[in-house]
């Protein structure tokens, strides 16, 4: 391709604080409209904001986890514009002196590690919601729900270091994993607790100068991050190829139509008239507090992944998958602590466990199988009590009943047959019944081995030790 894209993402993450950023109102989702409001968050005259320290802590944690510098001195600013869901007529945000700057996160792109710079992370308050409804009388009304007004947000702004839509998705996934590890945001794009705007431009490969950038808003799922960017890049290329010019503008992603559409041009862009918020004193970060926050950070996805590879000897891809969610990684490690073989545990988690959870639409937190139960079952495989095949049945039983593997094996009589005599008998029976196949095998059709194994397993109801079956079969057939 002649062109390359230059992409920067602006991510808004709703923080998981119990109360709003500048007042004591609850942040719970889904309450009666305007039931979670007070004079402060509905912008009554004379009231003042007071910073929620938890919000500051969450922003600092995120900054530390994304390799940012934490500003020793930071301040809030007012972003002025009129809209009914913005009760004060300005949003308290940060402009000059944001709380975090100059960080990065690492993603894997085409098998290589790539750093994506974080320009800044700042704190701000969310706006309320306008709800447009038609009245029965025919005239249309708009309603304002201010429950969300004042919910704390972090805006995480990346450098334009992203070159493809799939890198953008990887960046979002990594960022989401970090936010969830820190427990500062639930990362739910569909519900809007994680929102993404993208700045996109294209240029000829090798070109130094940046093209005119277009901002895309309303991208509300991981799938749409990729689709919206793919569409927009194609659109821009076509405009250029057709001899046109890209106009600096803001476009909205329409997921139904699968296209971006112009929302406003540069001329209609707001002049937000930012200035320092005089109602809040500048934030000064003290070293002792910062150190306490540093020490409270959990092991983060990248470090955990490296450790899993080194300590547990699992593959790169397995480690990537298992560390994508902290709860999954914890589940994995709990199973190992309970004596599970790391490679086997990894195989079972990414295979049967995640499959069944997916089918039942459950998260790992809701998994009825305890890590120790998987470890115990794997021990039964290793000591030869059950075969790997039988284990699949046992695992489903554990999932359904919550009983331990040894109980299930006993109750259902699933103990593996390891007696050579018994297996020899079964082998003889099968060979006797299928003389034609034996003949063909001996004359070179080695693929028939599987057929014999299958027949033997059928007779033994799958309980025969596969290794012994193979050994004896080979002996008898040669």
């Amino acid at each position: 391709m002649k062109y390359e894209a230059v992409i920067g993402l602006e991510v808004h993450a709703q923080m998981l604080t119990d109360t709003k950023i500048f007042c004591g109102c609850s942040t719970k989702f889904g309450a009666e409209p305007n039931s979670q409001t007070c004079p402060v968050c509905i912008g009554m005259p004379g009231v003042l904001p007071v910073l929620n320290k938890k919000a500051l802590e969450f922003a600092v944690k995120t900054g530390l986890a994304t390799n940012c510098q934490i500003s020793k001195l930071s301040r809030f600013a007012r972003k002025n514009y009129f809209y009914p869901d913005l009760p004060k007529g300005y949003q308290i945000s940060q402009y000059e002196l944001p709380i975090c700057e100059h960080g990065y996160i690492e993603i894997v792109s085409d098998g290589n590690t790539k750093k994506i710079g974080i320009t800044r992370i700042h704190m701000e308050e969310d706006a309320g919601k306008n709800i447009h409804e038609s009245s029965s009388g025919g005239g249309s009304f708009s309603f304002v729900d201010l429950n969300r007004a004042g919910v704390p947000l972090m805006e995480i702004v990346s450098e334009p270091d992203i070159s493809t839509p799939s890198e953008a998705v990887e960046y979002m996934k990594k960022l989401r994993a970090i936010l969830r590890y820190l427990n500062v945001c639930d990362g739910n794009m569909e519900q809007g607790s994680l929102r993404c705007d993208a700045n996109v431009s294209i240029r000829l490969k090798g070109e130094k100068e940046l093209g005119t950038k277009v901002e895309i808003k309303n991208i509300n799922s991981f799938k749409f991050v990729e689709k919206a960017l793919e569409y927009e890049i194609k659109r821009q290329i076509k405009v250029i190829e057709d001899g046109g010019r890209i106009i600096q503008e803001t476009r909205l992603w329409d997921s139904n139509k699968g296209i971006t559409e112009s929302m406003r041009g540069k001329e209609e862009a707001h002049d937000y008239r930012y200035f320092p918020e005089p109602d809040l004193v500048p934030i000064t970060i003290n070293e002792e507090w910062l150190n306490k926050i540093k020490q409270s950070l959990p092991e983060l996805p990248d470090t955990k992944r490296e450790r899993f590879i080194k300590e547990h000897g699992i593959s790169d891809t397995d480690a990537e998958l298992l560390t994508s969610e902290m709860s999954l990684a914890d589940w994995f490690e709990d199973a190992i602590t309970s004596g599970g073989n790391p490679k086997l545990v990894a195989n079972w988690v990414k295979g049967d466990l995640l499959r069944i959870l997916n089918e039942e639409n459950k998260t790992i937190e809701q998994c009825p199988v305890k890590p120790s139960q998987l470890a115990d079952m794997l021990k039964l495989i290793e000591n030869g009590t059950i075969s790997g095949k039988i284990a699949k049945t046992v695992f489903e039983e554990i999932y359904k009943t919550g009983k331990n593997a040894d109980v299930i094996v006993k109750e259902k009589g699933l103990v593996q047959i390891t007696s050579t005599d018994e297996i020899e008998k079964a082998v003889d029976e099968v060979l006797l019944k299928n003389p034609g196949e034996v003949e063909r095998y001996r004359s070179g059709d080695k693929k028939l081995l599987g057929f014999f194994v299958g027949q033997i397993m059928k007779i033994t109801k799958g309980k025969a030790n596969p290794q012994l079956v193979n050994e004896i079969l080979n002996k008898k057939l040669s």
Binding site: P39, P45, G46, L48, V50, G89
Partner: protein, 488 residues
């Protein structure tokens, strides 16, 4: 005996404690006075008569139950509050049509503190709309007149509070001061007005005009009363991040202290060509008196004084343009009918705001606009730092700075309304203290030949209200100006 409405706080406290009078006696005297002079003075937007009688009865019960030596604080003391300070359940308009029906569901921290001490809210006093003005003529509802001369203005923006105190329509009052709005009307009305250090008093519940400059303070009949009120309203408030977590002294304890050896700075930039001769003479006589009491006058310089008014009108209007954005007709107050959202916004704000408020919103919006921010807002912030530094340097040499409060005596109503710049210049002696954040008090120091009050201003270091109260008290004790009453 003079009427009970003429009492000061400390006089009323004494009489109430000794049970020589009752709370109802004082309150009735106050309302009698309001009935007889309010028509002329027009100090109040809301008179809180019915409510206050219930509170008075409760206060009297409490007084009856305590000993005659106990501190009764503000129990039963009728106080007026400027109508930009929120009072729960009581109309709070900021003298603006846009808040003509606004009843706050919350109490400001200052009135909460007064309430906790048992005060009686007499009523809410008139002001220039949103505290923007120097004459109270910018009120959206009425013009308050000066009790000393009903053809003249009481000053502003706390003109209602100053006039109510001067006319003895209350025992004391609260005002707010963004660029002189307590001190200049106190000076015009011949009473005491104190602007505390920025951060000394909580702004929670004070409807914001310019957040980085606004402070609430007392307007009283003498210095001691200001000390009493200041003690009560001061101190850190968890609801105001800009209120300072600094210890609050008992401001009445410093009053009687000696002023011998106190260095008082006289800034040469404040005594310039064109200032009213009578004022100049009065101030110099006052300084002479202070000298005779042991104070040592020292000439000092506040070199950036000439930029103060310009700096103030950029910063204050910038903040105001943002602070007043919430009055959009969506949530409370006036809402005009419009054909769509934009039309509703425009019509509401066109009808709800007066000319001066609109002028300042436009000035501030302009100063913050992209492309102008650096030249105006940022530059003004830089000058503000220099002005602050002027005071720091000066206070390395002197303990207190003394200046006139206003360059002229009270002017006639209507005299300056057509010329905003002339009006802005009436605050040249008071604006710098808000920019620097330092405390300042204005007290009566004489009268012009037309029998119009003249005020003198004492300015202190950050959080050193004690020094300015001390010198003001010493001066007051040696003079009679504060005892003079207007003939209404």
């Amino acid at each position: 005996m003079s009427s009970l409405n003429m009492l000061t706080i400390s006089e009323a406290q004494n009489l109430l404690r000794k049970k020589e009078i009752s709370v109802i006696d004082i309150l009735e005297a106050v309302f009698w006075r309001i009935d007889s002079v309010e028509e002329k003075v027009k100090a109040f937007i809301t008179i809180n008569k019915e409510n206050s009688l219930t509170v008075a009865k409760d206060a009297q019960k409490k007084i009856d139950s305590i000993g005659s030596n106990d501190n009764i604080s503000l129990l039963g003391i009728p106080i007026a509050v400027k109508d930009n300070i929120c009072t729960k359940g009581i109309l709070t308009t900021c003298a603006s049509k846009i808040l003509y029906n606004f009843i706050p569901p919350y109490e400001s921290t200052v009135t909460m503190r007064l309430k906790n001490k048992g005060y009686i809210l007499v009523g809410k006093t008139n002001l220039d709309e949103f505290a923007m003005g120097s004459s109270t003529e910018n009120s959206g509802f009425q013009t308050t007149l000066n009790p000393w001369d009903l053809e003249r203005v009481p000053g502003g923006s706390s003109g209602g509070s100053a006039a109510a105190v001067a006319a003895d329509e209350c025992i004391a009052a609260l005002g707010s001061d963004t660029g002189g709005s307590i001190r200049q009307p106190a000076s015009f009305c011949g009473v005491v007005g104190l602007k505390p250090t920025y951060g000394r008093v909580s702004r929670f519940g004070l409807v914001a005009y310019a957040s980085s400059l606004d402070q609430i303070g007392p307007i009283t009949k003498n210095v001691r009363d200001s000390a009493i009120l200041l003690k009560i309203i001061s101190g850190h408030d968890p609801y105001d991040s800009t209120s300072a977590p600094i210890n609050v002294p008992d401001f009445t304890e410093c009053l009687e202290k000696d002023i011998k050896g106190l260095k008082i700075g006289i800034p040469k930039e404040y005594f310039i060509e064109g200032m009213d001769k009578e004022i100049e003479n009065t101030i110099f006589q006052a300084i002479k008196l202070l000298e005779s009491l042991g104070a040592i006058p020292v000439e000092i310089s506040l070199p950036h004084t000439e930029y103060a008014v310009a700096t103030y009108y950029i910063l204050a209007t910038s903040e105001a343009s943002s602070n007043l954005a919430r009055y959009d007709g969506v949530k409370y107050g006036l809402r005009a009918v419009g054909k769509d959202l934009m039309d509703m916004y425009l019509t509401t704000r066109a009808q709800g705001f007066g000319a001066e408020v609109k002028r300042r919103i436009m000035l501030g919006t302009y100063a913050l606009s992209s492309g102008y921010y650096e030249a105006y807002y940022r530059k003004a912030q830089q000058v503000r730092t220099l002005i602050k530094k002027d005071f720091e340097d000066a206070f390395n040499k002197v303990d207190i700075i003394v200046t006139p409060t206003s360059p002229t005596p009270p002017f006639k109503a209507g005299e300056k309304t057509q010329d905003p710049l002339q009006m802005y210049l009436t605050d040249i002696y008071t604006i710098s203290m808000n920019l620097a954040g330092v405390p300042a008090i204005s007290i009566p120091c004489g009268f012009t030949s037309n029998n119009l009050p003249v005020g003198i201003q004492f300015i202190g270091k950050h959080f050193d209200e004690e020094s300015i109260l001390k010198i003001a008290y010493a001066y007051e004790q040696s003079t009679d100006w504060h005892r003079r009453k207007p003939a209404l």
